[in-house]
Symmetry: C2
Subunit: 241 residues, 2 copies
């Protein structure tokens, strides 16, 4: 086992969470004080990343970061792009930060994103916060771009792969599912048409179980069956909203 790090390659994780407020991204506060503690030179937000260990796969490296933040051992993730241009880090602020940490400015980063119900994440550390995708704060490095790329990939992929279910608890209602699509795609969907389509998918299977929630009328629960999905995926798409 080789615990050395690759000193010029990192993995960054974009963590998407969904709750009743819609789609959010988990960010970490980055601060730097100078001269004395009251002079905050840097105070913005960044994705969490870390060096890739030589003995780990990229996926394992991503999961290590993810676990450190969320407490969750591992989850579905999507590698969507690698950023490696010299000059990625070029603003005064970012160079200052890099120097203050004594790390290399020229790093290459393989970026992954995760999708999950926001409430599943138990934040372990200070300085982390969820931001709604529609109102992100000031971001450090090129993380604005990375998040945007992740989001574009998510929007595309959600139409052809069953990752929407990652945003939902194991048991969910059709209205939950519709809300997830609406949040990610940032559109409104007709409820009747959506339900028809969803009920037509063999891998969205109804349970003999109801959820009692804020609503007065209990709602039927469904689960996503990956087995069924794998069996039919060739000829069937997710849902065309």
């Amino acid at each position: 086992m080789d615990f050395r790090k690759r000193d010029n390659v990192t993995v960054d994780c974009v963590i998407f969470g969904l709750d009743t407020n819609g789609l959010s991204v988990l960010l970490r506060n980055r601060t730097l004080n100078m001269y004395d503690d009251d002079f905050l030179v840097i105070n913005d937000w960044v994705l969490t990343g870390y060096y890739v260990f030589k003995s780990k796969t990229l996926e394992e490296s991503a999961d290590l970061i993810f676990k450190e933040i969320s407490g969750i051992q591992s989850a579905d993730k999507i590698q969507f792009r690698t950023y490696g241009n010299p000059g990625r880090i070029k603003s005064e602020k970012d160079l200052l930060w890099v120097r203050s940490r004594g790390v290399q400015a020229q790093t290459m980063t393989i970026a992954y994103y995760y999708a999950l119900p926001l409430e599943k994440v138990g934040l372990k550390h200070e300085g982390f916060r969820w931001f709604q995708y529609q109102s992100l704060p000031e971001l450090g490095f090129d993380h604005q771009l990375i998040i945007q790329d992740a989001y574009e990939d998510l929007k595309k992929r959600i139409m052809t792969e069953p990752i929407i279910f990652n945003f939902l608890p194991m048991k969910f209602t059709l209205n939950d599912l519709q809300f997830a699509f609406e949040s990610v795609l940032n559109i409104e969907i007709d409820n009747r048409n959506f339900r028809k389509k969803a009920m037509g998918k063999p891998y969205i299977v109804p349970l003999n179980e109801k959820r009692k929630g804020v609503s007065k009328k209990p709602s039927k629960l469904y689960v996503f069956s990956r087995d069924v999905y794998d069996a039919v995926k060739e000829k069937d798409y997710i849902i065309s909203v």
Copy 2:
């Protein structure tokens, strides 16, 4: 300008070409002789890759490789995945090769693919050959996997981005275009329906010009207008075959 290489990061290029035989991939022969010249220990085919220069962007690095092979300065390319697991290179053969070259076995590779008309490529070096996608030879390293991933990405992307036109000369006939789709997607398409759909796309613009070829009847030529495409892409898809 920093001409040093990153010794553990390479860029690999999958080059797809299209001609009347359909979709092909450009590969390089990899041989290794041992003891004497008659004992070929390795004789298979690989993608072409090279180390990333610290002062170059990933895209520039890919284009350098592409130019070295094809003589073409630069072209559209798609970064589709990064491979970086330790143990990527693990077969006897590949380790032998790596040792014989005195290079690192644990490299990370950012993979790109190019698409272009096969005849545009003027092969500059010995040892390169086109193989039809459907009958690839024995491949070294994990290049079988990389090519397959590239192909899957290509098939998906061709439906939502105008990369099919990269396979065609500037002026092309609708039948050329249909053949390109058929070759990449490995399906048959109804000619009349296809023409209707293609002619409905504003960015596929007819010229007052005909091509005289093997056919007796001259065929109308079209060009792809990226300007028009950019203007309408939000509401319009490529072609749903």
